[in-house]
Every structure is written in C-alpha cells, then in structure tokens.
Symmetry: C2
Subunit: 627 residues, 2 copies
C-alpha cells in the first residue's frame, strides 16, 4: 500500500493496527545518496573498527535524505499455517508546514538518484506529496511555540507571557511606537462604545502587532477578540472584535483544535516510527545499519558522536533488531549461501534445503510478485527481507528433534542473531554488536603504509612482492592497510622500511596508538573550559601540531583534476556489485571523480571479497549456542 | 519547447540556429535551493559590500543544483514589425554517464523544493531524463581519459602508453601474475596457429586485464584484436580475436566513433551554454546574479574566490548581460514602477506609458500565454523577462526626437545598463558592476553593533531610542549594522557604549579596518610557504587569535534548540515577498529553524524596504548619460 501526504491521515489506524497485531516487522529505506565524502569503497575500509565505520557513516551519510520507507508487517495464522503480510511504502519529505518549521537541507548524490530513476522511482511522489516529519527535538520546539502562541492569544483568562518582563503587568512600549499603540487603544475604546462589532486596524509590522496583542490582552482580558488576518495582497493586519465570553471561548477552542491538528500533521511520519518503536516488536532488515542510522537521525535525534551512545539510543528505539544479511553470513547459513545480496538471497532461499514460506497479502492490500521483481522499492525490499527471515528461521527448526516447521519470531532459536548489524565489507568483524562490546580481532599481520598519492595497488604489490600473498585495504589517496599472510613478516617489513624515503610503514598496533593519542589531544581540547584552554593555548597547540603533521614531505590530500602517473597503469573497470542497496551509487561512488585512481579500490575490493570468506571464520564470530 | 535527454541531440541544431539568428537572448534558472547556511534575509544583509555578497552567495548557494534552464531567443522582424521568439525549457541533471564521470553531490532546500512542487514542477523530468553536462575541466579530463584509452587499445600501430615505464618496451609483470600472463600468451599463440577465430579468456581482475592489454599490445602489435566483454553476470573478461589489418582498423574506428559520440553526449547541456557564450549576443535576465553564478559554476568552472576574477570570467563567458530588475529600478523606470518582481513588472509594462511589444512564437514552437501565468518555469520566466526588456527598451525610444517605436538590442540607448547585475536588498549599492570597480557609498552614519544572541530587533530599537529613526541590518545572531539618521550621532553612540558590558559598538570604518586586518593575516597564511609558516607559527597564531577572538564573554554561535528570551517578544509573521525567484525558499529561509529569533529579520526587512526607496538616490547611481 502506497502512503503519501494525500492518504497518510486516513491510513494511520490501518498502520497502527497492522503493527499491533504483527509477529514481526520488516523495514527498508531508500536514500538520496550514500557518501558525500570518499567513494563508497574508501568509506568502507576492510579493516575499519566498528567505531571508525560508525564515525564515517555518521559523517558522510547522514546529510542524505531517507525519502522512502518500507514497512511490512507479518502476522502468523496458526490455523491456516501461513503468514499474513501488510506492506506499506511511505514517501517521506520534510515539507515545511509553516513559517516556524525547520527548513531542512539535504544532499543528493547523482549516481544514487540516477540509479533510483533507472528503477522507476517516482521523485514527484517524494517531493510533491511526501509525508512530513519532525524529530523529537523539533516536535518539542513546535509544541512549545504552540503553547506560547496559545498563552499569548486572549483565549486564556489572564495572559501568562513567557517573557518575564511582560508577564509582570503593563507592556513596555518603545518610545517610537507609543503614539501608534495609543491610537490603537482609542480605536478599541471606540469599538466598545459604539454599535460596531469589529474594527480592522491598519496593516503594520510584526513587531507592532506583537505590541498590540500584548497591550490589548493586558488592557482587555475579556470582551474583545484579537486576530491577525491576511489581505489579498498578503499584508497582515489585526481585526479586533467585540465578543461575549462564550463566543470568545468557542473561537479560541476552534483555533486551538485546528492548531493542534496541524501540529500532529507536522509530526507526520515520525508517528509511524514511534509506533514501531513502542510496539517492541522484532524489526528485521537487510544490511540495515544505514537504515537504522537514518531512521534514528531523521525521526528521533541527531546521531550521537559516540558509538556506545548510539548503541544505547538504538536499543531504546528498537529493542530487537535482526539483520538478515548477517544471519545469512553466519553458520549454518553461510555454508549454504554464496551471495547474500537481498535479491540473490531471496532466490537462494526458494531452493533446497530451504523452504519458501507461505505468505499472503492481507485483504485489501496489494500483493507483490517475487517473480517480477520490484527491487529498490522500499516496501518490496521490506517484504522480501521478511520472506528471507521466515525461510531462515524455519530452517533453524529443522535442527530440532523433532524438527519444527514453523519457528516464531519469539523463538529462542533466533535470539543469537538479535541486535547484531552486518558490517559491510569489514574483513574480520562481521557485525556491529548493539547489545555489548564489539569483537576485537587480532591484527598483528597488518601494516599501515603511507606513500605518495601517485601510488596504486600495483605499486603496493610490487613493494611487498617478497612477502607472498598480500591484501590491500585503501584508506585514502596516500595510505592503506596491507595485510601480510604471516604475522612474523610484519617486523621485517617495518625494519626494511626504516630508510625508505617515499613511503613509511607502521604496525597496526602503532597506528592504533597514534590515533588514540590524537584523540586524547583532541578530547583535551573540547573538554577543557575556554579559559583554561586560553591559558594553555600555545603549549597545547604546539604539541598537537607535532602529533598530527606527517613527517614526510608529500601532500596529504589529492588535488582534484591532477592525474596520477604510476609505473603500471590499471584499466578502469567496475566490479560486480556486492550489495543491492542503491547499487548505482556503490558503482560510481567507487569511481569517484575526485579520486585520482579509481581503479585501485576496485581490485582491492575483489581481493577483499575472496579474503572475507577465508577470514570470517566461526572462531571470530559468536556462533549461536543452540546447535 | 521542452528539452530533456530524450530529445536533446535532435534539438541541438534548432537551438544553435535560434541562438545564431537572434537579436538577443533571455535566460532564467531554477535551483534546488538558495541558501544552505544563514536564512536568506541574513544572507542578503542590507549593507553587504559587493565582495561580501559575492562571497556569501558563493559559499552558501553554489552547492545547490541549477536543474532547469530557460532560454528564450528573440529575433526582430522588421517587415512585420514584431519579434519572433523561440523558447526552450531545459531539464538539466548531472547523470553519471559512465564509471569515470563525476558523481556530483548537490544540496536541496526543502522549502525551495516544496515551493517548486506547489508550482507544478516535474522532478521526474529532472532526475530521470535531465540532460547531463560537464564543466570545462571535467570535459578536459574525460577527453584525456578517452585519448588514453585509445592509445592503450591496439587501434594505433605501435602502443604509446602514457605511463613512462611501460612505453619503453616489455611490460613489467608483477611476480604473482607472471604465470597467469604466460598462460594467456600460450592461449593466444594457440589461437594464431589454429583454425579458430577468437578465444575467450577467463574472467580476471581489472589489474590482470590491464596486464593482458599491455602484454598483447606489445607482443602482437598486429594480427590480434583485444576487447573486454561483459558476461550476463556482469563479469568482465577479455576476448582475443584474429583479424587482418583492415578489419582491425575498421573495428577500432567504429569503437572510437562510438566513444567520441558518448563523450559529446556527456558534455551535453554545456554545449548550449557554450553556444550562447560564443554568440556574444546580449543576454537578458531578471535579478540574474545567481543565475549567472550558477551557470558559470556548473558549466564552466568552479567560481573563483576573488570577486574581480569572477568579473573577468563572467565578462569572458557573457560579454553583454542586462538585468531587467536593475533596469526597472533605475531612472527613468523606477519613477514609474513600484514593484520590480518579475510577475508584477510584466503586468506594469502592459500599461501606459509603456506599450506591450508584439511578440509571436516561431512556427513549430508552443506559445506562452501571459494571461495564464506559468511563472517559475524557467522557459516562461525567460520569455517574460524578454518581454520586459523589449517594453523598457522601446520606452527609452520615446525620449528621442523624433521618438522611435523600436529600439534594437544593439542600440546605444541600452548600453548604460550593460553588465550591471542587480544586488538584491542592498540599501545603497544598486548593482554589481561587472565591467569595472563597484560603487563605494559613504557609510559614516552606520554602526557595527555586537551583542548577546538573545537580543532582538526590539532590543536594538530600545538601545538606540535616543537617536530617532534607526535602521537595523542583521548580520548574524550576535551582530548587526545600525544606520542612524544622522552621521554626527555616530561618535556619540560609540562613546556612550565604551563602558557597556553586554554590547559593543564600532563605527563602520573601524569595522572595515578590522575585517581588512583579518584578511591580511589570512592571506599571509596561505601565501607563505609551509616552511616559513612553520617557523613563524607561534607568533602568527598568537596575533591572529588576538584579532579574531571577541572581547566579551558570550558565545558567537546560536545553539539550535535553545530558545531566546528577550524583554519583548515579537509575533512571528512573514512578510510579503519581494522577489519572484523561488519565493518559497525566500519565505521559509527567513524563518530558518536554527535562527533563534526568526522574527527580527522580518521587521528588519520591512524597514529596509522603506529605506531602500529613500536611499537609492540617483546621486549614488550612475545614471545613463543619454537623456
């Protein structure tokens, strides 16, 4: 079911009850882009720590807009032995609902937009009839403004102004407005002593209107009704009417109800996310880290800087999350599933030993046909994510004795997969652990190498040709991690590099230490109070500059437009996509224009892919304990 | 005529000849937003210098996308005594055309998008079938890459590699790829000595493909054709075919022609702008500074930092520009025209003493009807801008003796208006002068005031209540210009403020001096070489910190969400729009969420508006010399 601003309000009850009755929910989001900084392949370095990955995504992905949100609710019918699903495809847009509402600026990445366009995405539905939303802070502010307006209007017996000054009594009218306000009072006195019902004051400035409101509220707490009206020429002026108490209250009430409704409308789509959150139901997604980050960032609060705080917030908003990509990459599935991209996974789970689940659309809901794919429509993606979850959960039932055909979303069997979000393309840490500390793999075979920005992957292969098979994970134009096949080669490599001029090698441990020091220096800065910092200023700055400035002589950042020359030129080709999520941006993100050598990241990824399978061993991964 | 990616190529000749035959051209652009920083009313301070305004627009407006470009060509038919117009409405989008093309990120401002949506703007036409483009540097890079690919393919007699190393002879094959490459050579030898016509090599990495290309080019400069093919699974592999010289050359030629065409396609809409530029024709726009900035930034080169450089670039790209808003605000028009917004101007120019020009659509071109407005479609806006220009130009002819009914775009009468772009909402400098230094009005009645961010316009009115009528131009949350009615009050105000703790007053001259010093310090930084800076480091930093750190104790930047409390609360209302250009963003820009007190800027604007009429006197403005 497609939900836009046009039918949102009338659909809310349907949505609420679908969530309420469901056994579990599946979600998916479509964004206006993925990375506004480095290319996606640089954004997702194979040796990122969970902290690093979180910081990068927070920095480079959150300015994009989540503009389509898919929700699919699944309810198990025990008598019919099938799931009943209700799917919703929401178009979401931060339409400013009035002059006080936030004017959101969001970024679009042309490759992502182009990709969605090629999938038949309807941008007019987003931009013209997208459902508005407010995050919690924005909602609080708007409600405050509303209360403020209410207390300023003469609906309340005595005016209770927010401003401490004006609440005390007579309004302070600046000298130059005194004559103006006196004239207004004359006119109102006139009104009160004649037959007329109302008087139209002449157009004036916002400030003067404020003064009028305050003065009349104070002078005539009862008996007159003051409201702002707009002329055809969009000029605003004030209409003062004589009303009896009853009429005045009625008018005020109507106005307040209208405002209250507008306010609820402006909270808009956030109400759906609140309902999902409040339900406490299991929420399933595929490769859902970015979906979760965007959902919280857009509808709850700006993401915290600290990963642990993010984990806390996320667990509050979504107490139970399950990532089907992580599930499919874990024993006992990973042995059976080669390609965990959503479309491929869905296909694979239709074949033995898996069993396609029986799922039907609820009455009145359109059904999706998995044969004619509608991939990258958020509602459809949420739907097949749900299908994948059901198939995999049921497969776990076959390990029980006696085997069980249906495994519910509340089964203990799936608990080991809870709150572990797949970490895309990280070699040795399969997931971000929302309910505890993250895995810390040994990285004693890894080198941190810095070099001139002209270097390409081939130069690194040549440099380390003596060490057998290596694996390169690019960090940026001038640095990369190089994983050697044996940890005992690390010291040799470091020693050999000591007299090199063009490049520099550190062990992974040294790299981490340097980063920690930089962080400590930084934190010191922000934690100390201004005055203290001022006192320590020269000293601290000097120390910081020592630890951050590189000790070799080539620039750190590539100049866009400057072409690279290296001993061996690589052909520039694109690799097969690894993941279905906005593939377009993935592809051209990797061939980012400003990157001086798009090709290197490509072959890196290919290598990484091979390696991933070898390294993500079950020793590193918390294997579910049930079997 | 609507032009998208679908009909762009077939329309190019029509567009070129329309430009070629025209007497003058009118243009207009629609953008995805106006300001990604301060609200529009803060962006356009009434006392901006042209440099300041340019810097602000460059900083806060250039990340938006110009996504609709209107071009209307006007050709005068002397026999029929009428203009023939051809109007084009281009949808423009930076679609990445292949993996090497730039992946542009652009910002959208929800108020602007919402405004365009309310005007029936078709976003699908932009994002799905918008015409691509490249700026000149991008085009150069793509052409270079193309040449590189050509020289690497075996179309050329001898391979001439870009890479100095590989051009010398045998390819350096890294140790681990040697076996692989040897196998490839074996296969090719096999091919050459059997009946087969071609051999399909197994899929391999991009790097390996590069090695294959280089090796085979070097080993078999003639006799084999090497090409990369893609399998259904999107895997790339290499196909080696036996070909005779003629066949090989034919294939290469075809491939090159196809690539050349793709390349021209990717330059796309920029070709239209190049044609406008090359024609040297008069280009008319309404309030066109942003249009010109976006056009140059998007289709030529990133805007230079320096205003004078911008003037140079602009004069190169558009040798003759005319801004109808500036023209309408100037003698003899300003005495006759109250509202210079495009829609109002067009209406006014239909009435006496002006005469509606006779303008007809060329055959085959749809005609616009000014009665049923299609404002904010770029093609329509360009069209009525042209109408306004014709009416005003012809009006100048009535001053001649004998009066002339038709004034051509080449008439000396309109030259005084050339290359002067309207400066929106600047009190005392009506235009940016592209062909010379800008006007420098006296500002000795102006104070620069800094204060706590809780202050509102009313607080400033109160502070200066002793000085009679004042005018406030907000700079940011904690500073504003205050113009006194008499210059001799300035020193009194400065003296009075000396012992104030919460606020601080400088004369405008002092303010300018401080800014200049800051600039000099900054420039020193960037001009000095790294080593020199390193040596001077501590000294310079200390000096800079003295000149930039405020001497009072409240924070400079408002915290979003923190509410302001001031003695007098102002009602928050929106003002009448001053300008037709994306009014939506104008409106809600002014009520920007992060601004702690949206109201203050409003009343400022109102005041400014009144003042503008008083101050933009003909003494300041270069009045055309003709009358």
């Amino acid at each position: 079911m497609e939900v836009t601003r046009k039918n949102f309000k009338e659909s809310l009850d349907t949505i609420y009850s679908a969530i309420e009755e469901a056994d579990f929910l599946a979600i998916d989001g479509e964004f206006s882009g993925i990375s506004d900084g480095p290319s996606v392949s640089t954004l997702t370095n194979g040796l990122d720590t969970p902290e690093e990955r979180y910081h990068k995504l927070r920095k480079h992905s959150m300015d994009f807009l989540l503009f389509q949100f898919g929700l699919c609710t699944f309810k198990y019918d025990h008598t019919e032995v099938k799931y009943i699903m209700k799917s919703f495809n929401f178009y979401v847009f931060p339409k400013p609902f009035n002059k006080n509402s936030p004017d959101v600026k969001f970024v679009c990445q042309s490759s992502s937009i182009d990709f969605l366009a090629s999938q038949g995405f309807d941008f007019n539905k987003v931009f013209c009839i997208g459902i508005p939303y407010l995050n919690q802070e924005e909602e609080r502010l708007v409600r405050e403004q509303y209360d403020e307006r209410r207390s300023q209007s003469n609906g309340v017996g005595t005016p209770s102004f927010i401003s401490p000054n004006s609440s005390k009594g007579p309004v302070i009218v600046p000298e130059e407005h005194k004559v103006f306000i006196e004239k207004v009072i004359e006119k109102v006195e006139d009104l009160l002593h004649t037959e007329k019902n109302s008087v139209h004051l002449e157009p004036c400035t916002a400030f003067q209107r404020k003064l009028i409101y305050q003065t009349l509220n104070w002078k005539y707490p009862k008996g007159v009704h003051v409201e702002t009206v707009e002329t055809k020429q969009k000029e605003r002026s004030i209409l003062v009417s004589k009303v009896d108490e009853e009429e005045r209250k009625k008018r005020e009430k109507e106005k307040q109800e209208k405002e209250q409704e507008e306010l609820n409308d402006s909270v808009g789509f956030s109400r759906v996310v609140h309902a999902i959150s409040k339900s406490g139901k299991l929420v399933v997604g595929h490769n859902m880290l970015l979906d979760v980050m965007h959902t919280i960032n857009q509808f709850y609060c700006p993401l915290p800087e600290d990963l642990n705080e993010f984990k806390e917030v996320t667990t509050c908003v979504f107490p139970r999350l399950l990532d089907t990509k992580l599930m499919a990459s874990t024993h006992p599935f990973k042995e059976l599933i080669n390609n965990t991209s959503l479309a491929e996974l869905e296909k694979r789970l239709k074949e033995t030993p898996f069993i396609s689940p029986k799922v039907e659309s609820a009455e009145g809901f359109p059904s999706y046909n998995t044969a004619s794919e509608q991939l990258h429509e958020a509602g459809y993606d949420a739907y097949i994510t749900g299908l994948c979850f059901i198939s995999m959960a049921n497969f776990l039932g076959t390990f029980l004795s006696p085997p069980k055909q249906h495994i519910s979303a509340r089964s203990k069997l799936i608990e080991p997969f809870f709150n572990k979000l797949f970490l895309m393309r990280v070699i040795d840490i399969p997931y971000l652990n929302l309910s505890g500390p993250d895995l810390q793999p040994k990285r004693d075979h890894v080198l941190y190498v810095t070099f001139p920005k002209e270097w390409k992957t081939s130069d690194l292969y040549q440099l380390f040709s003596a060490y057998g098979n290596i694996q390169v994970s690019w960090i940026d134009d001038t640095s990369a991690f190089v994983s050697l096949s044996q940890a005992d080669q690390v010291q040799i490599a470091v020693n050999t590099s000591r007299y090199a001029e063009s490049y520099r090698i550190q062990t992974y441990a040294e790299y981490v230490e340097t980063r920690m020091e930089e962080k400590r220096a930084k934190r010191k800065w922000s934690e100390d109070s201004w005055k203290e910092v001022e006192r320590k200023r020269l000293k601290v700055q000097y120390a910081a500059s020592l630890s951050t400035s590189p000790s070799y002589g080539f620039p750190r950042k590539g100049t866009p437009g400057k072409r690279s020359m290296s001993p061996i030129q690589e052909e520039q080709v694109s690799d097969e996509m690894e993941e279905g999520e906005i593939q377009g941006s993935d592809e051209s993100g990797a061939s980012n224009w400003t990157s001086t050598s798009p090709a290197h990241t490509k072959s890196t990824r290919k290598h990484k892919k091979l390696k991933t399978e070898a390294v993500t061993s079950s020793e590193l991964f918390e294997v579910p304990q049930v079997w």
